[in-house]
């Protein structure tokens, strides 16, 4: 076999494996979207219906406007609930993420420039994230109940902020490490006070990193389920909790509406991702600064 033949086979093999993998990853997404357009009788149909026939918007109308055309279950959907959940999710996720990125950024700068935390401490910080949430949630709910934080949005913001802080510090530190110390020192010796160096030199250079970190943490908090279930859920309902209510012992299985809601949850993140994709590409490909 010649070298070029070998190369061609390697390329074919590579693409075949990647294609299979892409299909495996994409199928649930496809299934979610297609189910959201299926009429009720096709949700459970066997053999499975891959392409909705006929296409229908009923699920979306039912979920997002509370309209009840197809009485597939005795459960009556309130028009407001998904919107309230969306509002809660947005408020909680954005607040917690903003806090985590801001505070994490300050810590990351301290670690990167002043070795504020030793390497052991940095690793311990990451270890915090490796404790399964279910382990801490019982004692946490006791604290929360004592502090009156159970079922409040502040309570959720606080716990999301704290649990995503390690990620924020680790990610942002790697971006700040990329900014050469000498660039800051150049600004310093040219007469820039500390805050102007940060604002005019460091911040613009890590902006893409900030955006990437922000989106990463936003996705985590946006889709968090366990803590939201155990620390809130009656007064403050987030989207993942709302979503779970479409499949329970009392409500039955309303796959179509659940899928319609899922699409609604996913779209905001996709929109944000598209808007900031320029930053994401740069933020996730390190070494952007010429030394």
């Amino acid at each position: 076999m010649t070298k070029s033949q070998k190369n061609r086979i390697a390329t074919i093999a590579r693409y075949s494996i990647l294609t299979v993998w892409a299909l495996i990853v994409a199928f649930p997404l496809y299934w979610m979207v297609s189910t959201s357009f299926k009429p009720g009788e096709q949700w459970f149909a066997w053999p499975a219906v891959y392409i909705p026939d006929p296409w229908t918007l009923t699920n979306y109308l039912d979920v997002w406007t509370g309209r009840q055309e197809l009485a597939t279950s005795q459960y009556i959907i309130s028009a407001q609930r998904p919107w309230i959940a969306l509002g809660n999710s947005a408020l909680i996720a954005f607040s917690a993420t903003t806090l985590a990125v801001l505070y994490g950024g300050v810590i990351a700068y301290g670690v990167s420039r002043y070795r504020m935390l030793s390497e052991v401490r940095m690793f311990q910080l990451l270890m915090l994230r490796m404790i399964p949430p279910i382990v801490v949630v019982a004692p946490l709910s006791l604290y929360y109940s004592a502090l009156g934080l159970l079922d409040t949005w502040i309570g959720l913001v606080l716990i999301y902020f704290l649990t995503s802080l390690p990620y924020a510090v680790w990610m942002l530190k790697s971006f700040i490490d990329e900014v050469p110390r000498e660039v800051e020192q150049a600004a310093e010796i040219l007469g820039a006070p500390r805050w102007r160096t940060l604002l005019e030199v460091v911040l613009p250079l890590v902006r893409s990193g900030l955006v990437a970190t922000f989106l990463f943490i936003l996705i985590l908090t946006w889709s968090e389920y366990l803590l939201a279930l155990l620390l809130a859920k009656t007064e403050v309902v987030t989207l993942p909790i709302e979503l779970s209510k479409y499949q329970g012992s009392t409500e039955g299985r309303v796959y179509g509406r659940q899928a319609a809601l899922s699409v609604g949850i996913t779209i905001p993140l996709i929109i944000i991702g598209v808007i900031i994709r320029k930053h994401l590409a740069r933020g996730f490909s390190f070494g952007m600064i010429r030394r």
Binding site: P180, Q185, A187, A192
Partner: protein, 364 residues
Amino acid sequence: MARIELVNLRKEFGALAAVKDINVTIEDGEFVVFVGPSGCGKTTTLRMIAGFEDPTAGEVRIDGRVVNDFEPKDRGLGMVFQSHALFPHKTVAQNIEFGLRMKKVPPDERRRRVLEVAEMVRLTRLLDQMPAQCSGGESQRVALARTLVTNPSTFLLDEPLSSLDAKLRRELRAECDRLHQALKKTFIYVTHDQEEAMTLADRIVVMRAGVIEQIGSPMQIYSYPVNSFVADFFGSPSMNLLAGEVVHEAGARRFRGFGLSVRLPDRFNGVPAGPITLGIRPEHVDAVPAGDGADPDVELPVRLVEPLGKDTLLYFDVGMERPFVTVSEGIAMAELESGAKLGLTLARDQICLFAADGRRIGSA
């Protein structure tokens, strides 16, 4: 005006002493080059002058004032970094303008001074470019312009040319020299390149392992090195160092080693017998084809001939780690076959002797 004094300056990083109690005074308007192998403490010294490192002990004085507790921006210095350290998100013009903006210079004057400086270092055509679009030499000129425009009393340059190729280095070296002459400011320049030091400096400070080995003009350092380290470090190719011994013979002193037996000039009459290192620069060895009627100090077969155009380098094997090198003018020797025997004669008045601890013996 800036006269910079370093008094018993010391810097320790943990257990490592990078700079050990150095004392230098740099006069106003002087071009001083700190030179030495990597890790000798020269950059740490510069960074202490700039204010980026706090001395463990000792003082940095600018015009008589102790500035140890001054922020870098309050010392009135300008610095050019090895990595250029341009602001990658600002245009060339914005890079140059930065220092003026920080000093709250009004916009009109800012623009005027940026143009003026850009003219001076030939950057006018690049003002709207981003640093990433600039070549290495251009980046270095931007870094220089950015410092120039703030009109500092002293320029600190940390290996500014080490990332450039040889030709550009020579060009920018000349530019540095020209700027120094035009501005009449104090320049402190750090490099590991002895050639840069030789060509640029009014005075050279040779450092090794955190200690100053010698301070002097380029010619002093080259001709009268205080020890074998300095002798070896300066000059390209560097000085031949031959380990041997001094013997007393019929009232005179002779050096013996590597098949060589040389009668030493009278100025070495005080040297006791014993082991010693003889140093001679390649250009101070006369090489002629053997059997030319002359009476050479030693005859050796040439091992390698390296024609450089202007000169020809000849390498001889003397059983040491390093070959013995001589340089002969022109290309007369360029056609020499490897193995051809040459007679070598050492210029007596140029011989240096170094004691076992490296110290040079006897006056010049």
